[in-house]
C-alpha cells in the first residue's frame, strides 16, 4: 500500500497497470524513496510523484526522508501520522492585505517630508484632462517652485514628453497591465527623479477612478480631477475616490455653456461622499480658476518646506 495516499495494494502484478493515479502532493523531501514493501514485486507501477522542488525551502514535510530506505511519518508537524487524518492545522494571521503598500507609502511620506517636498497624487478617469491641467499649472508655477513629475500610464511615454516640453523633469512609469500606481513604484520613481529639497512633486496616476483610491503612495494629498463632460453623479458612482481625496478640481469649465451639466448637483454629490472635500472649478484652457489652484498648491508647499540644511564650511 502506498502509505502516502493510502491507495490500495492491488497493484502488484503487471507493472503500470492499476496504480495509475497521479500523486500531486507537494512534499519537499528528496527522492529515492523506498516504501519498504515486503512483497517481492518490482516497483514499476506508474506512481507519479509530482515533486514540487520550488517548495524546497519549506521545512517539515508531512513525512521526512531519513536517508536510504526510511521515511519518517512522525517527523511532521504534529509528530504523529494517523492514516486518514491529516496534519492540517490553522494558522491565525490577521494581516492587512494592503499592509505592505501602507508600509512603503509611510516610508515615502517620511522621506518626502524630510526633504520639504509637497507630493500631490492626481487621480481621475482617463480623458479628464489631467495632463493638460498639469502643463498649465507647471507653466504658472515653475518660475517660483522647483517641480518634478511622475507620470503613470499603462503604455507609452506620451504624457512624460508633454510634461518635459515645459522644461520640467518628468519620469514615465508604465504599469503594463496594472490599473494603478503603488507605493513601491513611486519609491523607485523618487529614486530616479531625485526631486530637489523644498520642491513640488506631481504624481499623475493611471486614469482610473476606481483602483488608485485604494493605494496610498505617500503623497500629501490626493487631488481628484473631474471634468464637466463627465456625469455630475460621478462622485456617487465612484465614491471611494472622492472620499479619499482632499481636493476636487472640476475642470473644463469653459465648456459649461455648451452642456447641461449641473454644477451645484455635482458639488452636492461630492460633498455627500466627503463633507471635508475642498472644491475648485477651473479651466486649464481659458485659465479661469487656475490661479486658485496655484494658490492652493503654494500654501501647502510653504507648509511642507523645511529649512535648508546649513552647508558645512
Amino acid at each position: 500500500m502506498c502509505t502516502v495516499c493510502g491507495c490500495g495494494t492491488a497493484t502488484v502484478e503487471g507493472g503500470a497497470v492499476g496504480h495509475g493515479h497521479d500523486h500531486s502532493h507537494d512534499h519537499g523531501h528528496s527522492h529515492d524513496h523506498d516504501h519498504g514493501h515486503a512483497h517481492g514485486h518490482t516497483h514499476d507501477h506508474g506512481h507519479d510523484h509530482d515533486h514540487d522542488h520550488a517548495n524546497a525551502p519549506v521545512a517539515a514535510a508531512a513525512h521526512v526522508s531519513r536517508g536510504e530506505g526510511a521515511i519518517d511519518y512522525g517527523g511532521g508537524l504534529a509528530g504523529v501520522h494517523v492514516p486518514g487524518l491529516s496534519q492540517e492545522r490553522i494558522v491565525r494571521i490577521e494581516r492587512d492585505i494592503l499592509g505592505k503598500n501602507a508600509t512603503l507609502a509611510r516610508a515615502n511620506r517620511r522621506r518626502l517630508a524630510a526633504r520639504g517636498i509637497l507630493a500631490l497624487n492626481l487621480v481621475s478617469s482617463p480623458g479628464s484632462g489631467k495632463t493638460t491641467l498639469l502643463v498649465a499649472t507647471i507653466e504658472a508655477l515653475k518660475a517660483r517652485l522647483p517641480i518634478t513629475v511622475v507620470e503613470g500610464d499603462q503604455q507609452t511615454s506620451n504624457d512624460a514628453e508633454r510634461i518635459r516640453a515645459t522644461g520640467v523633469k518628468a519620469l514615465q512609469v508604465n504599469t503594463g497591465k496594472g490599473c494603478h500606481l503603488d507605493a513601491h513604484m513611486v519609491e523607485h520613481a523618487i529614486d530616479a527623479l531625485d526631486p530637489p529639497e523644498n520642491s513640488l512633486l506631481f504624481i499623475e496616476n493611471v486614469g482610473n477612478l476606481v483602483c488608485p483610491a485604494a493605494f496610498d503612495l505617500g503623497e500629501a494629498h490626493k487631488v481628484v480631477v473631474l471634468s464637466v463632460t463627465e456625469g455630475e453623479d460621478k462622485p456617487l458612482k465612484y465614491p471611494d475616490m472622492f472620499a479619499a481625496a482632499d481636493l476636487m478640481l472640476l475642470t473644463k469649465s469653459d465648456l459649461l455653456p455648451h452642456l447641461d451639466f449641473d454644477v451645484a448637483a455635482c458639488l452636492a454629490a461630492a460633498r455627500r461622499v466627503n463633507p471635508r472635500l475642498e472644491i475648485l472649478v477651473l479651466s486649464a484652457r481659458s485659465g479661469d480658476g487656475l490661479g486658485e489652484f496655484v494658490a492652493w498648491i503654494e500654501r501647502r508647499a510653504a507648509l511642507a518646506r523645511r529649512p535648508v540644511a546649513a552647508t558645512a564650511d
Binding site: 517548495n55 491529516s86 494571521i93 490577521e94 494592503l98 499592509g99 476606481v210 483602483c211 485604494a214 471611494d240
Partner: protein
C-alpha cells in the same frame, strides 16, 4: 480590477506565513472582507486561482468572511449599522455618519499541512 494586485499581496502574505509555520501546503485561505470595503469578493475569487497556481497555495479553498458595516451617526450620537459606504443613518435618515467598521481587508487565517 485591483483585485489582482490585492490577490498578489494575499499570496505574498500566505507564502510568508506558510514558510514561517513550516507548512508544505496551504489548504484553506480565509479572508476577512468588510462589506464597506472597496473590493468585490467575486473578483477576488476569480483572481485567487490564477494567482495561486503553481504555488504552495495551489488548489487551496478560498473562504471569504464578510465583516458587517457600522458607522457613528453624529446626530444620533450612536453606532448604527451601515450597508453602504456612504449610506444615510438608518435611524434619523441623516447623512452625517462616519464609517467605523466594515472596511476590513485582511488575511485572517490559513489551514496548512
Amino acid at each position: 480590477m485591483h483585485e489582482m494586485a490585492l490577490m498578489e499581496s494575499v499570496l505574498e502574505i500566505v507564502e510568508d506565513e506558510a514558510r514561517r509555520a513550516g507548512a508544505t501546503r496551504v489548504t484553506v485561505v480565509r479572508l476577512a472582507v468588510g462589506v464597506l470595503s472597496h473590493v468585490d469578493p467575486e473578483a477576488l475569487r476569480f483572481c485567487f486561482e490564477a494567482v495561486t497556481n503553481g504555488t504552495t497555495a495551489a488548489g487551496a479553498r478560498l473562504e471569504i468572511d464578510r465583516v458587517a458595516g457600522a458607522g457613528w451617526c453624529l446626530d444620533c450620537s450612536t453606532t448604527v449599522a451601515l450597508d453602504e459606504r456612504f449610506g444615510d443613518c438608518p435611524q434619523c435618515g441623516g447623512r452625517r455618519v462616519q464609517m467605523t467598521a466594515g472596511d476590513d481587508l485582511r488575511v485572517a487565517e490559513l489551514e496548512v499541512v
